[in-house]
């Protein structure tokens, strides 16, 4: 059996230096040696401002803190959250993204804002995020595959970002797109989905206080395999709605096409709100396995955020608009 009891004196697996960090130290030493050689040669290499495991400063606590969650929702182990990912741009296996995204460079990163707004244009990731308040948001994440995690995201209010572009009254929906670059995202060389990955929200969902643009987790910049440099985090929807590595935001009047809905409309609806009552052809959605646990637990309506978001869907038939 896999149930493990721990003595207080046991070394936690989280205390052991992960191999990736160990290797990173090595590559850092190598880089440092190169830098030394560079200085000697009179040419200083430019160090990337964005490197994995860089701590973020000025992160504010929010009302969605670790303490605000029930006792049976402890934060999931960092190693698990960063080694068990669905990010098909880097491979379909759960461990593929961690393996294949290490070399992914996210600087420079530009986001194009288009459509029904007064101030469309291209903006760098830094300029988009810098004026915003970084907040820690500890949210449950429920994947459509019936597993879940609790992730301490660092992010900015999506509403606050979107309002800067002054969406017009035609902006009924917001569409998002992931980077398309098969050179850098090897998973895109396979036709698993119609690339680039697309997602969309109704404008009221996007403007909800729970909706954030995630730029980090565990107090550090977003790891590549989790959607660096910027991703959506929609805690009451199945994980695939939280699109990663965003390069395009578009305000529009019509309902935007979304990748999984295009691939299998019967299985993945536009809304994809976590709903234990609406069953899925592949997975029973009434229960889930929390990563780190063996036995399943009941899935909560709207992933436990019903109080905050249920009003968005008042009067809607959730079976039809699944």
């Amino acid at each position: 059996m896999l149930i493990k009891s721990r003595n207080a004196s046991d070394v936690l697996s989280s205390e052991i230096t992960p191999k990736s960090v160990f290797e990173k130290r090595r590559s850092f030493l190598k880089t440092a040696a190169f830098a030394g050689a560079g200085i000697a040669a009179g040419a200083l290499p430019t160090l990337p401002a964005y490197a994995a495991r860089t701590p973020l400063s000025g992160v504010q606590k929010s009302k969605w803190s670790a303490e605000s969650l029930p006792e049976n929702d402890p934060i999931t182990d960092y190693e698990d959250v960063t080694s068990y990912n669905n990010f098909y741009e880097f491979g379909t296996g759960k461990r593929d993204p961690k393996e294949n995204a290490q070399e992914f460079k996210v600087t420079p990163w530009e986001i194009s804002v288009e459509g029904a707004c007064m101030k469309p244009g291209k903006i760098s990731f830094e300029d988009l995020i810098k004026p915003e308040t970084l907040e820690e948001r500890v949210y449950r994440l429920r994947c459509v595959e019936a597993w879940s995690m609790v992730v301490p995201w660092v992010g900015v209010s999506l509403a606050s970002v979107l309002k800067k572009f002054e969406p017009t009254s035609d902006a009924k929906y917001v569409a998002f797109e992931t980077l398309f670059d098969p050179e850098r995202m090897p998973g895109q060389r396979q036709p698993v989905l119609k690339w680039p990955y697309k997602e969309g929200l109704r404008i009221h969902e996007a403007m909800h206080p729970l909706s954030i643009l995630g730029v980090g987790m565990y107090g550090e910049v977003m790891p590549n395999q989790n959607g660096a440099p910027v991703r959506l985090v929609m805690p009451w929807k199945y994980g695939f709605k939280s699109i990663k590595s965003i390069v395009k935001i578009k305000f529009q009047k019509t309902i935007p096409p979304t990748s999984w809905n295009d691939a299998a409309a019967r299985e993945y609806g536009f809304y994809s709100n976590v709903n234990p009552a609406v069953r899925h052809p592949r997975w029973s959605q009434d229960s889930e396995r929390r990563i780190g646990e063996i036995f399943k637990r009941k899935t909560l309506m709207f992933n436990g955020y019903a109080e905050e978001v249920a009003s968005l869907y008042e009067g809607m038939d959730m079976r039809k608009w699944f």
């Binding site: 190693e79 396979q190 989905l193 029973s284 990563i291 036995f295």
Partner: protein
């Protein structure tokens, strides 16, 4: 030494058995190769349990399920390859490995299903029944399992005698349904468009095609 002592006290039949490479090399090799994936899984579980190893991924139940399912299908395809290999290469002895390979495939199928029932669903029979009737890929998987059970039971020499070779052969054609069900189960389980299940399905289709074409060829030659 070994041959002389064997020759001293054994019947000629026993001597022949000991000199038969299928018995003393190939069958043990099949045992070792077929048990190796399970041994590796055992090591991953022990490593995770005692040393906090991460070989089982963050979702060990899902990992074990996929791992056992993968190996069940692989060994089933190897078992289904025995007849085509015999036909194409003319190496008749290979047929003697067919039952062993088939039983190993069944063994991994049973472990795969046991993991699903015990660790994944924890004997929640209502949820399991729900899965079988509502989730098509599980329905298809169950069809495969149901095909293999009578084949495993009747795999002994006694049963061949009891049933008669003709009937026994006819019953054991059900393995083709199991192979198709296994491939389809895998294909349906994957999300999006993925090559891997198509490779398995392609191998299965080729093995079936060889079976269908060879008798036709022989007929043609006879004329």
């Amino acid at each position: 030494m070994a041959t002389s002592s064997a020759a001293a006290g054994a019947t000629p039949h026993r001597v022949a058995r000991r000199r038969d490479p299928v018995i003393w090399i190939i069958k043990p090799l099949v045992w070792v190769l077929c048990l190796a994936p399970l041994a590796w899984l055992g090591w991953l579980v022990a490593d995770a349990f005692f040393y906090g190893g991460r070989g089982l991924t963050a979702n060990s139940v899902e990992f074990i399920n996929r791992y056992l399912g993968d190996w069940a299908l692989r060994i089933l395809l190897v078992a289904l390859a025995v007849t085509p290999v015999c036909v194409l290469s003319g190496w008749k002895q290979v047929v003697r490995l067919r039952r062993l390979l088939g039983l190993f495939a069944f063994f991994y199928v049973v472990l795969h299903v046991a993991n699903y029932v015990v660790l994944d669903q924890f004997f929640n029979w209502a949820a399991i029944w729900d899965d079988i009737i509502k989730r098509w890929y599980i329905t298809v998987g169950m069809v495969g399992l149901l095909c293999l059970i009578p084949l495993a039971i009747t795999s002994t020499k006694g049963w061949i005698k009891k049933m008669g070779g003709c009937n026994w052969n006819r019953l054991h054609k059900a393995v083709y349904i199991a192979g198709a069900a296994g491939c389809l189960h895998f294909f349906m389980m994957r999300k999006g468009f993925q090559y891997e299940p198509l490779v398995y399905a392609g191998i299965f289709a080729s093995l079936m095609a060889i079976r269908a074409i060879e008798p036709l060829k022989r007929k043609f030659k006879q004329r």
